[in-house]
Amino acid sequence: MEAEAAKFLGAGLATLGMGGAAIGVANIFSSYLAGALRNPSAADGQFARLIFGFAVTEALGIFSLLVALLLLFAV
């Protein structure tokens, strides 16, 4: 296989990792929604924690995007 082709294949495979982050982020928001519907009065106070969990989970998906970008433009 040519090195150039392997680079593009690797970048494509690296983006699969973002699917995992998608499941994680969806899990956070669905749990938040489920909790918020049970106790709406406590929901607003947890907004910062919701966004923090979202940001930390999203970071791992961003890392796989970073690997894809590095393979495309830096390797």
């Binding site: 910062a48 966004i51 923090f52 940001a55 970071a59 961003i62 890392f63 995007l65 970073l66 970008l69």
Partner: protein, 249 residues
């Protein structure tokens, strides 16, 4: 189709000569950063010019942005965190206004370049490290050792904490950069579908309605992302500064 990457190109406006083989120039990126800072400055100065007890529209907007950031700081870093309020408020307003500037047609998005966001993240992380060691000395290293962990697991957990601490500047900067970059490329690609489809005749024009509607929806979503990413950057800054203020967890 128009090149979706073209919008991120840095162009020289005025060349200011060379230093050691590297060109120094006033670029469109710098021009938009000046515009961002000027907008924030004018907004805050003019909005708080005629201060009244019952605020008008502009004054409420300025008070709203102050209260929003102040509440975030107090909740996540405590009252001692308020000594960092000027830094955090500046970061929030800069990132927010730079993101929103990018939503103007033909405008350049400052935060879509990793060097800009990494510079902002480096300011935050260096503040945390310097303030932590300055205030707590070697006690600042306690942030790497969580309490209540069995001795057997401690080496593993400390290793994970060190990796997590080192990846903070990367994740903080890459999150903002990647979100702005990916969002703007997606918008451009869908807008390109509209132009491409309407070029092939009457049937194409009818079919172009779908990507056009999606482009409008995505533009609205991008405004939301611009705000959420500015908030995420601010919130994480507060939480990292909280580590420097109270290293013992």
């Amino acid at each position: 189709m128009a090149d979706p990457i073209h919008q991120f190109e840095i162009k020289n406006i005025v060349s200011l000569g060379e230093i050691g083989g590297a060109e120094i120039a006033f670029t469109n990126s710098a021009a938009f950063m000046f515009a961002t800072v000027a907008t924030i400055f004018l907004f805050l100065v003019l909005a708080t010019q005629g201060r009244t007890l019952i605020p008008g529209r502009w004054q409420s907007l300025a008070e709203l942005s102050y209260e929003f950031v102040a509440t975030t700081v107090r909740q996540s870093a405590g009252n001692e965190g308020m000594r960092f309020f000027p830094l955090i408020f500046s970061l929030f307003m800069f990132v927010l206004v730079a993101n929103l500037f990018g939503m103007l047609p033909y405008a350049f998005t400052v935060t879509s370049h990793i060097i800009i966001t990494f510079g902002l993240a480096a300011i935050v992380i260096l503040t945390v490290i310097l303030y932590g060691f300055f205030n707590h000395g070697a006690g600042f290293l306690k942030i790497l050792v969580p309490q209540g962990i069995p001795m057997v697991l401690l080496p593993l957990v400390v290793g994970i904490e060190i990796i997590s601490f080192l990846s903070r500047p990367i994740s903080l900067s890459v999150r903002l950069f990647a979100n702005m970059l990916a969002g703007h490329i997606t918008l451009k690609v869908f807008a390109g579908f509209v132009a491409g489809l309407s070029g092939i005749g009457a049937l194409g024009v009818a079919g172009a309605a779908l990507p056009l509607a999606l482009t409008v929806a995505l533009t609205g979503f991008e405004f939301f992302v611009a705000f959420i990413q500015a908030y995420v950057f601010t919130l994480l800054t507060c939480l990292y500064l909280n580590d420097a203020l109270h290293p013992g967890h």
